[in-house]
């Protein structure tokens, strides 16, 4: 019987997750003519990791043997900008901001791996050059890389969902702040 290793199915799963995220993803086109091969799981996964957010940069620290993925996306920057805007307008502190809290929960929940050799960092400072970012740092003993693309898709969806909610909330605040103009008083016709 032909032996099919688990990595074969992992390759298929990773590209399915990319497809569900974006049917037109360039990753799908780049792998189109290649045979499904479990031995290429690392290549498939790294390409998928870099395809979820608009701009992904990868750095490797030789000394500490740490790999860092930095994710930039207008979606991330827009969310944190509007979050700040919401906090200023409602006088809510960052610690008590429900949007901020929910977003952190969503990120931590999606990017939770049954491992110890990784860390997630979120930079929400909107004044930063290149905008806000999300950083995933993984050590040499991180063995769940194939779970990362699916997790990033979840994070992306969470940003989309919460950004939409934020926009709706801010639109409601705008409505409340509108001052109704007095109705035009019809001019009295002077008696001739």
């Amino acid at each position: 019987m032909v032996e099919i290793d688990n990595y074969f199915w992992d390759c298929l799963r990773v590209l399915k997750e990319v497809f569900d995220h974006d049917e037109q993803s360039p990753v799908l086109a780049s792998f189109k003519d290649r045979e499904i091969n479990g031995a290429e799981i690392y290549e498939v996964t790294v390409n998928a990791v870099e395809a979820i957010f608009q701009d992904t940069r990868c750095y490797y620290n030789d000394e500490k043997e740490l790999e860092s993925y930095v994710f930039f996306d207008p979606l991330i920057t827009d969310f944190w900008k509007l979050c700040e805007d919401y906090e200023k307008r409602t006088g809510t502190s960052q610690e008590k901001s429900s949007f901020r809290d929910e977003m952190f929960r969503a990120i931590n929940s999606a990017l939770y791996f049954d491992e110890y050799s990784y860390g997630i960092y979120s930079y929400e400072d909107t004044e930063r050059k290149n905008g806000c970012r999300l950083v995933l740092v993984i050590g040499s003993e991180f063995f769940s890389l194939d779970q990362v693309p699916g997790a990033l898709c979840e994070v992306y969806e969470a940003f989309e969902k919460h950004l939409k909610q934020l926009k709706e909330t801010l639109a409601e605040l705008d409505q409340r702040n509108l001052i109704e103009l007095p109705k035009r008083i019809p001019c009295r016709e002077e008696a001739a």
Partner: protein, 97 residues
Amino acid sequence: MLVDLNTLRRELANAVPEDTVDASEVNTYLLNEVLRPVLAGKEICYGDIDYSQFCVDDINDIAEHYEKLYRVANKLKALVGSIADANPAACKHRAFC
């Protein structure tokens, strides 16, 4: 190990053909367009896959299905090996054809 070939032949003749592993719960697209062709030795490219035909959970199901098939195939292989390794023994009673 002694194998009575007459009994084995009679049991095999009476056996009702059935799937060794139930495939009713797995996604038919993955079964027919991925697993079966791969088991038949066909190469499948990523571009051959219609990703809209299944969900992520279906991939786990088909992988489990393959594992079950693999275990059954191994048992069958072991049985075939045992029969092949058995030394023929002469019948104890004279028989005339």
